[in-house]
């Protein structure tokens, strides 16, 4: 029923009904782990940007585990040779962090291009990474930055390189933080202008480049090697991209290498930090 008589008269109402679920509101990461163990169909909600959209489109959950009452997951901290970003930090927190502006300005500038103001003010770093959505930018940026994902499990803390596919994440765990290494002299650039067909991020450290290709495969593809040979080597190493009406495999492949070349040229011209 899309309309209903109310005190305000006949009004339209939510027409994408969400299936009922139980609500769990743990106060510690350990309670989250327990709640995940208690319900096989449980899902975690932080900002909810991705999850609510999915549930509006038919995804279901036995239990939603709300992270809002858990303290300490939203901080952005200087840990010396890396910056720790709490998984509940919003994109806006990243965008407006003075610490990131000082220590990882190019990474911050790239992260600032995610979504729009509405999404950035509510959506979280953890949500973007854990959504395992091929068109999302977080996994490409974190992977190229050499980040580690820090998970809390029932056996303690587990670290997984952000460049690994979501299939390698520990089951029944909670992403609590993302550790981004800080390396003097490293340069970082990102081009998402062809989303959702392809996006490319490049990080250069000395003679070595790391290239991440997003949108073109189920999860981002990463390549590392000699910067002088990077675009050619990327073309040779890139697995067959997705072929669909949004973009052919040949076009995605071609544009991945074009964008990589442009970004490397941008770095060489000194337009990155």
């Amino acid at each position: 029923m899309y309309t209903r008589a109310t005190d305000a008269g006949w009004i339209s109402r939510t027409h994408r009904a969400i299936e009922p679920f139980r609500l769990s509101r743990p106060e510690t990461p350990a309670e989250v782990i327990q709640a995940l163990a208690d319900s096989e169909g449980a899902k975690v909600i932080a900002g909810g940007i991705d999850l609510v959209r999915r549930m509006r489109s038919g995804d279901t959950a036995d239990t939603l585990i709300d992270l809002s009452a858990i303290a300490g997951l939203r901080e952005i901290e200087d840990r010396g040779d890396f910056i720790r970003i709490g998984s509940r930090a919003t994109h806006w927190d990243v965008e407006t962090s003075g610490l990131l502006a000082a220590r990882l300005p190019a990474f911050q500038a790239a992260w600032k291009t995610i979504g729009n103001v509405r999404i950035r003010m509510t959506g979280t770093v953890g949500g973007n990474l854990m959504a395992a959505e091929r068109a999302y930018d977080g996994p490409v940026l974190a992977g190229v930055a050499g980040a580690d994902l820090v998970f809390m499990t029932d056996g303690g803390e587990v670290r997984v390189a952000a460049s690994k596919s979501p299939g390698s994440y520990p089951g029944g765990s909670l992403l609590v933080a993302v550790d981004i290494p800080v390396t003097e002299g490293a340069q970082f650039v990102f081009d998402r202008s062809l989303k959702p067909v392809v996006s490319v991020a490049v990080r250069r450290e000395g003679d070595e480049a790391t290239i991440g290709v997003g949108c073109a495969h189920a999860s981002p593809f990463f390549w590392s090697g000699d910067v002088a040979e990077s675009a050619t080597a990327l073309d040779a190493a890139l697995p067959e991209p997705i072929d669909n009406p949004m973009g052919s495999a040949a076009y995605r492949r071609r544009m991945a290498t074009v964008l990589a070349r442009r970004l490397i040229a941008q770095i060489q011209q000194g337009d990155a930090s």
């Binding site: 994408r16 679920f21 609510v52 103001v117 509405r118 509510t122």
Partner: protein, 163 residues
């Protein structure tokens, strides 16, 4: 399966409310159906267009993409809460009227709420910042030019009022 009801205590436009909601009940439905605040418009129902924007503790959120229990403890402002008690329009509302910054008008409440937050945070945004900020909301009549001009004029009016 049905979950237990969640208790929500919040203020909406300065009025305290205590409600029991189903876990899957969205904030927009509580505002429109229970509180009869139909100024907030339901459009895409996916949290994508911004027509249902309300302020949660001063932060703009899509009320169709927010569960009602997520607003527990919050101070909520809807478009009905902007005008003064005597009916005087908020400067942003006034600027939208004076610039005819609407065609069908369905997106207007969400546009006004988002513009209000921008001007609360930056009283002197440049045109690029206004475009970036308002780009989070969709006007299907494509009346963006007048909307951006209205926000510019509202910013001027707010600055003049505080000088």
């Amino acid at each position: 399966m049905s979950g237990e009801l969640a208790f929500v205590s919040c203020t909406v436009n300065g009025v305290a409310h205590e409600l029991h909601v189903r876990p899957e009940e969205m904030l927009i439905d509580v505002l429109r159906e229970r509180l009869a605040l139909t100024g907030t418009k339901l459009s895409c129902d996916l949290g994508a267009c911004g027509a249902c924007t309300v302020l949660l503790d001063g932060k703009p959120v899509s009320s169709c993409g927010t569960f009602a229990w997520q607003a527990s403890g919050a101070d909520i402002t809807t478009v009905e809460g902007l005008a003064a008690a005597d009916g005087a329009l908020d400067p942003v509302q006034q600027a939208f009227v004076e610039n005819s910054a609407f065609q069908c008008g369905y997106c207007t409440p969400g546009m006004i709420m988002r513009a209000r937050v921008l001007l609360d945070r930056n009283p002197s945004p440049d045109r690029d910042e206004i475009r970036t900020w308002m780009g989070a909301n969709i006007c299907r009549c494509t009346g963006y030019g007048m909307i951006i001009e209205a926000v510019e004029n509202a910013a001027s009016a707010l600055r003049e009022a505080t000088e």
